[in-house]
Symmetry: D2
Subunit: 107 residues, 4 copies
Amino acid sequence: MSDLSDLSAATAEFAAVRAWQPWHTPKNLAMALSGEVGELTTLFQWLTPEESTAVMADEKLADEVRDELADVLLYLVQLARVLDVDLAEVARAKLARNEHRFPPPQN
Amino acid sequence: MSDLSDLSAATAEFAAVRAWQPWHTPKNLAMALSGEVGELTTLFQWLTPEESTAVMADEKLADEVRDELADVLLYLVQLARVLDVDLAEVARAKLARNEHRFPPPQN
Amino acid sequence: MSDLSDLSAATAEFAAVRAWQPWHTPKNLAMALSGEVGELTTLFQWLTPEESTAVMADEKLADEVRDELADVLLYLVQLARVLDVDLAEVARAKLARNEHRFPPPQN
Amino acid sequence: MSDLSDLSAATAEFAAVRAWQPWHTPKNLAMALSGEVGELTTLFQWLTPEESTAVMADEKLADEVRDELADVLLYLVQLARVLDVDLAEVARAKLARNEHRFPPPQN
């Protein structure tokens, strides 16, 4: 069983138990995803490139980063589920198209 | 083998072959993720809740939605990788914390 | 004297007094703007279209909306300033181009 | 007459002539604002801090930056208008609160 389908089932169960489905339209979940990405962005906004690379060395900041990454994935998974999209499949297909769009450099 | 760790390895290989690592700081990948979520948002901005629920019935729009969901996941996976964060693990941990934050209604 | 140039001068003075200019690169200010728009988005994400129209009737929510709108404008003004862009001028020019892109319906 | 109230009146007229008001709920305009900020973010995502500071020296990129800044301001103005918020006033009030939150350093 894959991580993404496990998470998809778990978030669906979570929402169903709380009767949150009426709020979970694709439009609302896209907004929620966007809000979480905004919180993630905030953590990096004043950092230099080098500080951003070392961000996980600060334990408090590392916890915040992990928390926001989790929130982004959870809303992405829920959005894909209400749209009946297989996230892993579309990501693999996109990666294959990118292989053609950006051919590796020749030596 | 999990979908997320497969995608993580595939995107790392993709970037390495093209020597893109210098651009893939956490800060830059957070911005790229944010830009892709902006493109996803654009697809839903003028839709009613009902239209957003039916969005995949329009074949052209459905392709755009799948494409943007893929881009969001791919940048999220790359960001987690450069931060050395196990996305599936942090998402499962967050879901467990949410179980406590939002207890199910009692009957 | 215009509102936008007044605000531009006031935010520049605010940053200079605190010696914040090294952090106020265009890249960082674009991220800060994006983070504030994320906070604004969060206020609307679960609302129906009708609830979003009535949002200012809730005094607490109205204060949050005003606060986030202010933050978005303040970072937008600062970003335009470090880029030496006249915001009012580019907005008027864009509106003029939009008049041609979206001609009014004929009766 | 202020730039912001001029732009507010002009965008309201623009939308009214095209009968776009039904789409211009606060929720939808917040999403549109967020999408435009995503496009702006994309222009800066791979730049170093120094490259971001020099972005207007590239004429093509400078045009894109001006275009996105204009779009962000135009949607922000429209959102404020449908919410009946005076943008200049809330920004000045926020700046005054920030003076207290972040007192200037003492010499």
